[in-house]
Amino acid sequence: MSAKNAARRLEMYSKLVLCRAFEDKISELAAERGRLPGMQILATGQEAVAVGVVQALSPEDVVVSNHRSHAHLLARGAEPGLLMAEIMGKAAGINKGKSGTLHMAAPELNVLMTSTVVGAGPPLAAGAAFALQYAGKEALAAVFFGDGAAAEGSVHEAMNLAALWRLPVLFICENNRWAGAQGLAEHCPVESLSQRAAAYAMIGETVDGNDADRVFARARTLAEACRLGRGPALLEARTYRMRGHGEYDRQHYVPKDEIERWRALDPVEAYGRRLTEEGLLSADQDRAVRGQARARVLEAVAFAEQAPYPAPNQALEDLWA
């Protein structure tokens, strides 16, 4: 294990912890009526997919996100304060309060866009990848979508086009085993979504999405192939939606033991334990990492809460370029 690797893995751990702390805070605020507008949809439990994949990307690579975007954005380095302000609909938000929690775009970080229309990301990413290919860049477009999204026609069209044109798209299916209140077996006729890749003569793999190291390793290999012009690839990451579909969801339809089973596989805790066991993370360091994350999140909330709302009639702005 090189020092560089160790540093990278500690960075991944910090990101995992930050993502979790950020969304735990949202969950807390959402429970208090009136503190957050709209629906809060969190990636709690899926952080290792976001962090592992994003860590495998280069700065030129482009990310397209979906309704569970906070972890993707934070992993890419977005400022928690700007996200929190956005979630609250404040003018200081990363998109001036125009996007809210569901559609945040950070083109300055090459998080090109977020769509909350399920299945819309893949064709958008194919378009972005086409632009990279057109410009002759060695870079790719990585797009996150869910197991539920895999049923959308747009995902098929995008994979088909990307395979045909050998576009550098890394399709990441975050298979969290639920689409709303429908379990995988109730909404999908196949157990593994990576087997869809063969339908397009595309590389497809399944990885343990709760293991940040493995996600990183597989994403890096597939991303490299994409960048070298081998065409698109599909990475299915098996993970779990630990907090229900949205914060109003009481998960009455989820078997209790399923929740328990996956809690034991918590990707943030697991990664901390692994680094600790490997001697890379001391108890003090761990406390520091967690403390820093908490502090950044509190700062973000303080920043966001004091920030003003945009003027009502600024709603008329930003439509036309």
Partner: protein, 325 residues
């Protein structure tokens, strides 16, 4: 009559139809097992009562959901499918517009398509423009589709029942924020006619045409104006297609003034049709310009003060009326 919420009224319509006729089935994303454990959600309890053969949770596939409805309707079933949020109707729009609405015509009247689409809508629940986008004018522009847009629990039930048993494709728009509003609705199989508007407040000096939750905006405005001595008539369209042109024209001919209110964008919205109708066929009766009170031509904003700014309120309606008298 029963007292209950708008959501319960829809639920009662679905329950009634399912009980009444074996050809009825319900399908959509989460219409059976839902993330919402709330009896005010329209499909609540139906799965337990009618089983998974008739209450079908689908994959996230709007085109296939609509194709299911069209194909099954052609075979004689009475499908009731749900589109979770109005903007997602785009994904089903080929099936709805090029198939449900046209295939009977193309068949020379041989086949019919007695399907119902429930669309969850509304511009005021802080989700932003990919969840909030009222596109009823699109549907009303397409021959072959009927479009109901209830404003109260009784109509939510009655119009949906009519839709389900109508031999044509009918889209029923449900504004979700109304689900928790209360009112009376009839027990059993009591239908409200498709294509008949209703005067929900009689008045003499100005007609305000509205539908859906904008009816409440209009009523609030009328109430306020009454205090100032202005007599306003409020017409609830209830159905956008067929459009009750006679009711609109009758009221405008009586009052001589027209304001149209809706939450959808102004340009090419349904208000344009109502205004054009008056300008064409009630011109001689008009004593003042027509006014449209609608959302400005922007996507529905997310930030709470901007979302409020976007939505026409009673004050805007009142101002429009006052500008005419």
């Amino acid at each position: 009559m029963t007292k209950g919420t708008f959501g319960q009224a829809i639920n009662s319509a679905l329950d009634t139809a399912l009980a009444l006729d074996k050809r009825v089935f319900v399908a959509g994303e989460g219409v059976g097992v839902s993330i919402h454990a709330d009896p005010n959600m329209p499909t609540s309890g139906l799965l337990a009562k009618y089983g998974p053969e008739r209450v079908k949770d689908t994959p996230v596939s709007e085109a296939a959901i609509m194709g299911l409805a069209v194909g099954a309707a052609a075979m004689g079933l009475l499908p009731v499918v749900e589109i979770m949020f109005f903007p997602f109707i785009t994904l089903a729009s080929d099936m709805l517009v090029n198939h449900a609405a046209k295939l009977r015509y193309l068949s020379g009247g041989k086949t019919s398509f007695p399907l119902t689409v429930r669309v969850k809508a509304g511009v005021n629940f802080s989700a932003g423009c990919q969840h909030s986008h009222n596109l009823e004018a699109w549907l009303a522009h397409c021959p072959g589709l009927k479009v109901a847009f209830p404003s109260n629990p009784a109509d939510a039930k009655g119009l949906l029942l009519s839709a389900i048993f109508d031999p044509n494709p009918v889209v029923v728009v449900e504004e979700m924020p109304l689900y928790w509003t209360t009112g009376q609705y009839p027990k059993g199989d009591q239908r409200a006619p498709l294509g008949r508007a209703e005067v929900v407040r009689a008045g003499r000096e100005c007609t305000v045409v509205a539908y859906g939750s904008a009816v409440h905006t209009a009523l609030a405005a009328a109430e306020g104006l009454a205090q100032k001595g202005l007599s306003v008539e409020v017409l609830d369209l209830r159905c956008l297609a067929p459009l009750d042109r006679e009711a609109v024209l009758g009221s405008v001919r009586k009052t001589g003034r027209l304001v149209v209110v809706h939450d959808a964008n102004k340009t090419c919205g349904l208000g344009a049709e109502i205004a054009a109708l008056a300008a064409e066929q009630a011109f001689e009766s008009l004593k003042a310009p027509v006014r449209r009170v609608a959302a400005p031509d922007i996507p529905v904003p997310f930030s709470p003060p901007q979302e409020r700014f976007n939505r026409p309120d009673a004050r805007a309606v009142a101002e429009a009326v006052e500008s005419l008298v």
